[in-house]
């Protein structure tokens, strides 16, 4: 019987072609959009983690309250000891110090007079320790537009646009003007070793990157750091595990009434990411539901038209002794066959498209040039993941079966004799 139906589907193009096309399009869209959302989400998590939040982050309580102002006067002290104990307690994570700082970059001329100035958004990371992976983590080498990664103290990388605005060349001298941890004026000269573009709007604005030891000297915060970041050695954010680490760490300090006691936050608790992650997740659910709904409507209608055309056939089959229920079930079976074909084709195309988008991506940096402080990757990339195999397939199949079920009800509604009457031409 299945073979009989299958032959019918293959030979009667009008019966199979339009539903297959509808399903294929729907499934392709579902798969690709899900892949895109997933890719954006992962990129977003990664970008935020690498550049700002870590998988978990430790700050002083006061610093945490005002962290948007980069309040280094409230920074953690005794960080080397703290780092050692973190590394010991949570060896499955890699712990690093960072200092983020604001201030002014001044470009002096030969006489020492100011040639140009601009506000800096500085980040100090561990560039020189032999085992540090920070430069690699931030993808600095690959993001350089000119020059190289600093190889010794007193060197800095600055944002490419920032450098152009200040007419800086490699090897030029710049002066940082800001305040130390204790609120005194601070000046320090750096040599420009490279210019950089991360492609992340929030990072590229007025970027200045220096080594952590330079920053500690410059800001008078020896053995201090604004933030300690922890990254899972796997490189992949695991919210459950991060939560456990955070709870375990914060447990040590619940009794403390020190305003400068360290406090840990996991990625999801920072930068409103939790809301965003939930938003993206519900977006994918909504998107998939909309597609299933729309596809079902379209398939219902194609099914209805096809069904009307086929009352003739149903009449003959009734006369030959097939029951209404059997005809109805055979329609569903046909829907499963057609739905499977369409969903397979759609999934294959959708996965291929997603793969293409994962490898090549879509550059949106033009749109995001002036945009937002949010950590948004400017290259749109999809991500292939196992659930993409069923995320389009199941809805595609479901829509087709649902569509045929709805249109097939007409067979039940009609009197046998009426169906049969259509035979008397």
């Amino acid at each position: 019987m299945i073979k009989f139906l299958f032959k019918g589907i293959l030979r009667d193009k009008s019966r199979s072609l339009s539903p297959i096309i509808v399903i294929t399009i729907g499934v392709v869209l579902t798969v690709m959009l899900s892949g895109l959302l997933k890719g954006m989400l992962t990129d977003m998590i990664d970008q935020n983690a690498w550049f700002e939040t870590g998988h978990v982050k430790v700050m002083s309580r006061e610093y945490a309250k005002n962290k948007d102002q980069l309040p280094n006067d409230l920074a953690l002290l005794g960080v080397d000891t703290l780092m050692q104990s973190l590394q010991k307690e949570f060896p499955f994570m890699n712990w690093v110090k960072r200092i983020r700082f604001g201030g002014l970059i001044d470009v002096p001329d030969a006489q020492g007079n100011s040639k140009g100035q601009g506000p800096a958004s500085g980040m100090a990371i561990d560039l020189f320790s032999p085992h540090s992976v920070e430069a690699r983590r931030l993808n600095i080498a690959k993001s350089l537009v000119t020059g190289s990664v600093p190889s010794k103290k007193g060197e800095s990388i600055i944002g490419n646009e920032f450098a152009e605005k200040l007419h800086l060349k490699l090897g030029d001298e710049i002066t940082y003007i800001g305040s130390t941890m204790n609120g005194e004026m601070s000046f320090k000269n750096f040599r420009v070793s490279g210019t950089i573009r991360f492609g992340v709007a929030a990072m590229d604005k007025g970027a200045v990157i220096i080594d952590i030891t330079d920053a500690q000297e410059m800001l008078d915060m020896s053995d201090g750091a604004g933030e300690l970041l922890g990254f899972f050695n796997s490189g992949i954010y695991n919210d459950k595990k991060a939560q456990l680490v955070t709870e375990e760490f914060n447990e040590h300090y619940v009794q403390s009434d020190d305003n400068f006691a360290p406090i840990m936050f996991r990625l999801k608790e920072q930068n409103n990411l939790s809301g965003y992650l939930d938003f993206v997740n519900s977006m994918s659910t909504i998107l998939v539901s909309i597609f299933v709904f729309a596809m079902s409507i379209v398939l219902w209608n194609t099914g209805l038209l096809g069904g009307l055309r086929r009352y003739y056939e149903f009449g003959i089959r009734l006369a030959l002794g097939e029951s209404k229920g059997h005809i109805y079930r055979s329609l569903i079976l046909e829907a499963i066959l057609i739905g499977t074909i369409g969903s397979i084709i759609g999934s294959v195309i959708g996965l291929a498209g997603t793969w293409y988008m994962q490898v090549h991506g879509l550059d949106l940096s033009g749109f995001l040039k002036n945009a937002t402080s949010m950590m948004m990757p400017s290259i749109l990339r999809s991500q292939l993941s196992p659930e993409l195999i069923y995320i389009g397939f199941i809805p595609g199949l479901l829509a087709m079966v649902l569509g045929n079920m709805l249109s097939g009800i007409g067979i039940y509604k009609r009197e046998t004799a009426t169906l049969f009457k259509e035979l008397e031409v």
Partner: protein
């Protein structure tokens, strides 16, 4: 005596028409026995198709009782009436109604698929019934490639393939030329004699009447005359 396989008792069929009703069959009483070659004849609108549809359990009487193969049509559910058609009844229509996407062989085979017959059984039965109607060589053709006479012969093969007790033929010759009409009537008569299948026609075609052994005259939904004809016409 041979037993009755169709018994119609006080059957009335009314159709709702607008506010009122239209009486298509009015207190009809007849019986048919196994092996009959009979026809319901009468002018257009006299109720021939309505009666045939009730016997074929495609419709049920408004009043009265129709018993076919021992089953009361009014009491059958969808499934049982389908089963009755599948096992015991064959249909032949004015238009031969073949499924266009399937080959001649597959069209004839369909009824056997419903009976869950094996491939070998199906193949044997299909080829045999195509031979009966002289179309053994056409098995793999599509219906669109057949002439009208060939199409109607496939329809006969399709009705006969499951060896039904009763074949209901509603104006089977209406769309055929005289030569083809005679050819299929002869075929049906032969099958009637060889397999003892009951044939029941609805017709107003003189050619068909020439072959009938019994004619039930219907007029305005009533049986006017029930005429037994000598079995002399078999040429």
């Amino acid at each position: 005596m041979k037993e009755n396989i169709i018994t119609i008792e006080h059957v009335t069929k009314r159709y709702p028409v607008g506010e009122g009703e239209f009486t298509a069959l009015n207190d009809v009483n007849i019986q048919f026995r196994k092996g009959e070659f009979a026809g319901i004849v009468g002018p257009s609108g006299s109720g021939k198709t309505t009666l045939l549809n009730i016997i074929g359990s495609l419709d049920s009487p408004t009043e009265g009782k129709a018993v076919v193969m021992g089953k009361n049509i009014s009491e059958l559910n969808h499934k049982d009436s389908a089963l009755l058609r599948n096992l015991h009844l064959g249909f032949i229509f004015q238009v031969y109604n073949l499924l266009p996407v399937y080959t001649v062989f597959e069209n004839v085979e369909f009824a056997l698929l419903l009976q869950n017959k094996t491939v070998t059984e199906r193949k044997k039965a299909v080829m045999e019934s195509l031979e009966w109607v002289g179309l053994g060589k056409m098995a793999n053709k599509k219906p669109s490639k057949l002439s009208g006479g060939e199409g109607q012969r496939v329809a006969i093969a399709r009705a006969m393939v499951k060896r039904p007790e009763i074949v209901l033929a509603d104006e089977p010759t209406a769309n055929l030329d005289s030569a083809n009409a005679h050819a299929i009537l002869k075929t049906m008569k032969t099958l009637n004699k060889e397999l003892n299948t009951t044939f029941l026609f609805s017709t107003h075609d003189e050619k068909v009447m020439g072959y009938l052994e019994r004619m039930v005259h219907l007029e305005d939904g009533k049986v006017k005359q029930d005429e037994i004809i000598e079995a002399k016409k078999t040429e």
